[in-house]
């Protein structure tokens, strides 16, 4: 526990800007249509009005490298809030940042208008980085929100895990889902 807390403290904090209740792994799994290891290939930002709020959104085409839970498509089209259009940029608090070429474990679900989005924003996005032994391990999303109740969160449970370890935890969470 101490090690996990210390690990969390030592992880980078990004440019996020929100406050959010931490979601548990069970909640994250239950609310996601698919969980994948994917690599963002290309992205395009545009002005749009999700939820009636006119803002910049970014559509990212994600190659599915491995389907962890649900799905089966080879590619996904995922919308995130924020991005650059012309000379205008928007940064949106606590949103996932799908970096091109950066593989990640991603939980995705449908937003109210039916478009795929990262579940719980940055809390459902875990970039993968190799450790000193070459093992891919989950990292927190760079613009993770200020989390309320982080000690029981999916972030706390998953960050630092290898993909097989995370897959096992997700499978257990799925089996206990209502």
């Amino acid at each position: 526990m101490l090690a996990a807390s210390l690990l969390a403290l030592m992880l980078p904090r990004g440019a996020g800007a929100s406050v959010a209740r931490a979601v548990t792994l069970a909640q994250l799994v239950a609310r996601s249509e698919q969980v994948v290891v994917g690599t963002p290939l290309e992205a395009h930002a545009r002005w749009e009005s999700p939820g009636g709020q006119r803002r910049i959104v970014t559509y990212t085409r994600v190659r599915v490298d491995a389907a962890i839970d649900g799905g089966g498509q080879s590619e996904l089209l995922v919308r995130t809030l924020g991005g650059h259009v012309g000379d205008i940029g928007q940064v949106v608090s606590g949103e996932a940042v799908l970096s091109i070429g950066q593989p990640a474990l991603i939980f995705v679900g449908r937003s109210a208008d039916g478009v795929l989005a990262v579940t719980a924003m940055a809390q459902g996005h875990f970039p993968l980085r190799r450790d000193g032994h070459g093992t891919l391990r989950l990292r927190p999303s760079p613009r993770l929100a200020n989390l309320v109740g982080a000690q029981h969160s999916a972030v706390q449970r998953l960050v630092g895990r290898s993909v097989p370890e995370a897959e096992q935890l997700i499978a257990v969470a799925h089996s206990h889902a209502p």
Partner: protein, 304 residues
């Protein structure tokens, strides 16, 4: 007020392991993971960096409060305004040694607009607004996945990607899904802690790796400690707005003028060339195909 002792102990350990690091605070920058010309990198301090840091260019910046307040949480706009003003005053009155930060906050009062928006051809306002009836980025009403209903507050900052100058900032508070409180008793999600933290983002700061900072990325229900700033927060705001910055007199007018009302919705038109949300995943996928066909993706670039 209280600080979590375990968090503080771990923070002290972190300080030991990070000995030699001169700063802890992080500034928000123009970097964007999806923009190949402005990629985000992690600096030695653990901050996302790349591009230019964000800042307000004038001597002051205005803010407004949506006039409905939060009837659901029994918070009037007047009460919210006071809490927000108190939060901002923490930042404006920070002790930079040789003076206070060279940024003033101007209260534009209440506005009727209920939308997060930045208008490129009409007036604007930097609005704090409550979402009592629904969280616009939340659950699928048909019973599917929720996307962000757990969010307590969401700040959207609009900026010039070439300079980092902030054009607009809006803060949406999710009072529909969260017990937002303003009292010193029976504190749940403390509005003043939330808006003081969001105020740091509003002014250009990002999350700090310093666990004692208001800009640290963790909060516990009932905690009011984020209402006041730590030295790390002070260092951050003083770095963005050092005393004596040559910025002239205060002009709190938002970019393109002040407007207390929302802009009219854009006229519908061409689905690809003009703004207009896809109505569903098939629309989004169709749009994607068209964009590919036009070769827009391969040339995704800032104009000169």
């Amino acid at each position: 007020m209280h600080r979590d002792p375990i968090r503080a102990a771990l923070a002290a350990l972190l300080v030991l392991t990070a000995a030699g690091t001169a700063q802890a605070y992080c500034r928000t920058t123009t970097c964007s993971a999806d923009d190949p010309d402005l990629p985000c990198t992690l600096d030695a301090n653990g901050c996302l960096s790349g591009g230019n840091p964000l800042y307000w260019s004038g001597a002051c910046v205005s803010f407004s409060v949506q006039k409905s307040g939060s009837p659901l949480r029994d918070i009037t706009a007047e009460a919210a305004d006071k809490v927000i003003s108190d939060g901002f005053s923490q930042w404006a009155s920070a002790d930079c040694g040789s003076g206070h930060p060279s940024i003033g906050l101007y209260d534009h009062g209440q506005v009727s607009c209920t939308k997060q928006e930045y208008n490129q051809k009409s007036g604007n306002a930097n609005i704090f607004m409550f979402r009592d009836t629904r969280w616009p980025y939340g659950a699928n009403t048909s019973g599917g996945a929720a996307t962000s209903a757990e969010t307590l507050a969401l700040t959207t900052i609009t900026y010039n990607i070439k300079t980092g100058e902030i054009y607009d900032a809006d803060v949406e508070i999710n009072s529909h899904d969260n017990d937002i409180t303003i009292s010193d008793k029976n504190v749940a999600a403390d509005l003043q802690s939330i808006v003081t933290h969001e105020g740091g983002h509003f002014l250009g700061l990002s999350h700090s790796p310093n666990a004692s900072a208001t800009m640290y990325a963790s909060y516990q229900y009932g905690d009011t400690s984020l209402r006041s700033l730590s030295q790390d927060d002070v260092d951050g705001i003083c770095a963005i707005y050092p005393p004596g910055r040559d910025v002239g007199a205060c002009n709190p007018t938002p970019r393109h003028g002040y407007s207390s009302t929302c802009a009219p919705p854009p006229k519908s038109g061409c689905r690809v060339g003009a703004p207009g949300a896809p109505t569903g995943p098939r629309d989004a996928e169709a749009l994607w195909g068209v964009l590919f066909a036009l070769g827009l993706l391969a040339r995704r670039r800032r104009p000169a």
